[in-house]
Structure formats: structure tokens, C-alpha cells
């Protein structure tokens, strides 16, 4: 493999007459994590959807894992599926991301083997991954409603990692959780990242959370990346007014005041 894992150049997306993304550029090396921060309406979720291939770009280049995402639809079905297995998304809401009528084992088996979804054939691997995300192997036979939000999010993480993807896209995966559960999930992410050398796009509205897990950060505002760079640099020396405003709005930040 040569070149960056994710290479986005001048990406533009419009829904009807509304421009949602505009001249977005982003480059990420293998094994790195980029934190994408922004408020509602900033276009960060749309960016995630472009990367996994649900939303088609109107302009610009998007190359992920040496695959041109724009031509995905036009290429063979097989290539598109292969791409979607290599780029995995962990969804935001742990309550709607698992089918209530299927056991955890069946959900994970479906990820491994979409057509047959046989739990028995992949039992060992499913058990190994459940343990890896901090759940007992016998969780396999149970249904989502028997688990807490944090535990479900662990299952969702296991589901996206079990296929051994090249890139993982995490869209606000901790925003529905209590702070102490959030801290545990962030620890889990950090641990897995270190173990597997994953490339990750971590999307969040929370600057502090992004700082905890990212190597580089991109700040989005109204469909544009207004500032991007290494985490230490952006947090220590923000150049763009909006980045400064965001940093100062964090209640724990030194620049925070209620004047």
C-alpha cells in the first residue's frame, strides 16, 4: 500500500439547492486517527456518510484505502461490497443500532458472513471479539435489551471490528452515554487502536473527547473544514476564530467565562 489511507480533496456535497459540504480536504496516514469536530449542521456526519459510501459526492476526489469512492456505484457490486467491508462505521445510537429481535451472536455473525449469518460456524471468533471489547462470551446468546447503553456500544464496536477493516468511522459514539461510561468506551477505543494499528475517523461535537483519542483534528463549520492540523498544535494555538470560539466554549477550558 502506498500513499495515505484517506485522501479527500475539495469534496463538495449538495442536497438539492443546499450545500452541505464545500471544498473539504482531508488526508490521513495509515494508523492515524483524525478527530472531526463541529456543531450541529457543520456537515461532519455527511462527511462520514461520504467516506462509507452512502452519500455520493458532487465534486472533488475521495480516495479511501486506495479505492476511489466516487466510482463505487459505477463499479461492480462486488467491489462496492468489498469496500464497505474494509471501511466500517460505528453508529451513534446504541439503542437503534442493534436489531432487537436478534441475539448479539447473530448480529456479529451477520457482519462476518452477511449471506448465511451462521453463529455456530464463527463461534470462536465471536467469543474472542466479545471478550476483547470487555463482554463475557456468553453474551452471544442474549438479546440487546438485556444490556446497558455502554455494553451495547461495545457490541457495536465489536461488530465493526470483527471484519478487520482498514478504516473505522466512529460517528458521535459516546454522545448518548453517561460520562463515566463514556470514559470507559474511550479507554477501550484507545486500547484497541494501539493493539491493531487502526486508521480511524472520530467524529464528535466534544473537543475534549476528540482530544483524548486523536492524532490530528479537523474543525468543521457550516460545511467547511476551517482549520486542521496536529492535535497539540490546534489546541495550543488555534488560528481560526471559530476554533477559538469552540475552545473557549468548553466549560473546562481556561478561556471559558460567562461574561
Amino acid at each position: 500500500m502506498s500513499g495515505p489511507m484517506i485522501d479527500v480533496v475539495d469534496l463538495g456535497v449538495s442536497f438539492g439547492s443546499t450545500r452541505v459540504l464545500h471544498d473539504v480536504s482531508l488526508r490521513l496516514e495509515t494508523g492515524q486517527t483524525v478527530g472531526v469536530v463541529g456543531e450541529s449542521g457543520s456537515g461532519k456526519s455527511t462527511l462520514a456518510k461520504v467516506l462509507v459510501g452512502i452519500v455520493e459526492p458532487d465534486a472533488g476526489e475521495v480516495v479511501v484505502a486506495n479505492t476511489d469512492v466516487r466510482r463505487l456505484g459505477r463499479r461492480s457490486r462486488r467491489a462496492a461490497q468489498d469496500y464497505r467491508r474494509r471501511v466500517q462505521m460505528v453508529p451513534q445510537d446504541p439503542f437503534s443500532s442493534l436489531s432487537p429481535r436478534r441475539t448479539i451472536g447473530q448480529t456479529l455473525a451477520e457482519a462476518l458472513d452477511p449471506a448465511r449469518a451462521s453463529v455456530r460456524r464463527h463461534e470462536d471468533r465471536i467469543a474472542a471479539w466479545l471478550e476483547r471489547v470487555g463482554l463475557p462470551a456468553d453474551a452471544m446468546g442474549r438479546y440487546p435489551h438485556e444490556f446497558s447503553g455502554g455494553q451495547r456500544q461495545r457490541v457495536a464496536i465489536a461488530r465493526s471490528l470483527i471484519v478487520e477493516p482498514s478504516v473505522v468511522i466512529a460517528d458521535e459514539i459516546t454522545s448518548a452515554l453517561d460520562v463515566s461510561v463514556q470514559a470507559q468506551i474511550l479507554d477501550l477505543i484507545a486500547e484497541i487502536k494501539a493493539g491493531l494499528g487502526l486508521t480511524m475517523v472520530f467524529i464528535s461535537h466534544n473537543l475534549a473527547v476528540v482530544q483524548r483519542v486523536s492524532d490530528v483534528v479537523a474543525v468543521m463549520y457550516r460545511g467547511e473544514v476551517v482549520e486542521a492540523g496536529p492535535v497539540e498544535q490546534i489546541y495550543a494555538d488555534p488560528r481560526h476564530w471559530y476554533t477559538r470560539q469552540l475552545l473557549d466554549a468548553d466549560p473546562g477550558a481556561p478561556g471559558f467565562s460567562l461574561g
Partner: protein
Amino acid sequence: MNSSVDASIAPSGPGAPGGPPSAASREPRASSLAGAWRRFLVRRLVGLVVNLALLVVVTFVIVRLIPGDPAAAIAGEDASQSQVDAVRVELGLDEPLPEQFLHYVVGVLHGDFGTSFHYQMPALDLVRAAAPYTITIAFASLVVFLVLGLAIGAAVGIITRGDRHRWLDHLFNVGAGLVASVPAYVQATLLIAVFAVWLAWLPPAYSPAYGLGESAVLPVAALSLGCIASVARITRREVAVVLEQDYMRSARGWRLPSLRLYAKHMMPNVLTTALTLSGIILTALLGSALIVEAVFAWPGLGTTTVQAIAQFKDYPVIRAAVFVIGAISLLFTLVIDIVLGILDPRTLGDSRG
């Protein structure tokens, strides 16, 4: 890592339409009310035209779908060949299919559905004469069931809120369930038995000898009783839902007097849902009107249609009647949606209809 550090702010509307609806609805919609009305009316008028066009197709297809030779089936088993041929020519079945359709459409546009086999007069005239009778009882029932249903449902809903007065709750459930589930024509028959036969207060059937109002009482009662119960059930359930809402907690937090709390803050929200569902109930009401009319020999569209199907196989009349009933149903639904729009402008954005 590239970055396009550019502070120019592109005009950016509501968030990604592909996102969950809850997120999208939280965004402010910068649309004016007049614009919303205009879009609503345009969309509904287009929908009306499309539905009328579909009606034309359906009424055309009715005859074509009859198994075997439609002309022979319509003329009946003991018809002579010349009678069958006459039917064939009258319905235009001797022409090629596209031409038949074209003729039919042109005819409909001119208000011509053909001539009634039985009465030997234009089918549409027959239907037009019957329509006011149906509209009268349907509209009267609509008013009665909306007013009484909403009032009873709201009252019971408020009295039984938070599981107060459980006996009333149970009584209401059984009573309204019973009335709502008994078919209108059974109620009609029972009403006749009690009020016309036993008590002899009201006429059992339509006859020019009685006044229109007098003879309409039982049909309207038969039609609206079930609907009152249905609307009351819906309203009662909706009241329970609305009372749980955050904005009702806000209103309680302002310590408003009860009357104001329920009449001003609760009722508009109950009405929205109740009226939306009333549209569906109204559709069902039009359906049962067809049968109830038969019970009371009410000279409306139902009696006309049923006779045309069961006795005369009078296809031009069937076509005209189905078209007119469909059109009435569409118009009533449109009226309800307009009322809804006035009460709650948010419903204008719905993609129904």
C-alpha cells in the same frame, strides 16, 4: 494534511436531509406561512388531479376486467345476440382498446359517462340527482360525530387522567368499544326496530311523505353513532398522550387555571391527531353510508350504486357513481386537511395526500 482555512461563510441550510428526522426537525425552518399554504395547496391540487385521473382509469377498467366477454356478462344469460351487440356498442367494447379509453376519457371530460341501460337517461344525471342526498347525511354525520366524539373523548380523557376514576375508564372502554364495533347497518336495523316499529316516533325509511329532516334523523344516527365512539376513543387516548408531553408540564409550571390549561394548551394538540384520524373515519363513513342508505331506502348514491350492480348491471351508472363517490371522498378529505392546516400550520408540511 490539507486545510482550507477560509472564513467565508457559505449559505448553509438545515442539516443533512439524510440524517434522522429528529435532528432535521430541530432545525429552524425559515419558511413563511403564506409560502407553506401556497405549497400545500399546489401539492394538494396536483394530488387531486392525479387521483381523479386514477379514478377515470379505475372506472374504465371496471368493465374491462369482467371475466369472459363483458358484453355477454352484462347483457345477462338469456340475452339475445342483438342485445349483447347493443351492449357492446353502447360501452364501446367493439373498438380497439386505446380508442375505447380515449373515447371514455373525452366523454368523462364532457361529463358524459354514457346512458343508463335501465333508465335510458344520462348516467351522470341519475348520479347527480342522488348525490345531494348522500352529501346531506354524510355531512350531517360528520358534524355530529366530530362535535360529540371530541367532547366525550376529551371529557373522559381529562377525568381519567393518571388513572383517576378507573370505573369510568372501564365503562367507557366497553361502551365505546361496543358501539364502535357494531356495524352501521346492524345499528340501522336496530334503530328502525326501536324508533320506527316499536315506538313509532320516526319514519322507518325515506319517503316523500315525510319531511327530509325527519327522515334523515335515523340514517344520520346510524352513521354517526359508531363514528362518535371511534372519535371519542381516539380523542381519549390522545388526551392521555398530550397530557404527558413536556409542554403540558411547562404549562402546569406556569400554574395556569385548569380551564385554560386544557382548552388552550391541550386541545389544539389533541385536535391535530384526532382530526387527522377523522379523515380516515370519514372515509369509512362514506363506505357504510352506501349500505345504510339501502336500509333506509335513502335515494342517495349508495342505493343507486347497489341497485346498478345487484339488479340492473347498469355499468354506465356504476362508473359515474364510483367516480362521484370517489370525488366526494377526495373533497371531504381535502376540507379536513385545510381545517387542520388552519388549526396547526405544521401539518401543511406533511407529504400526505
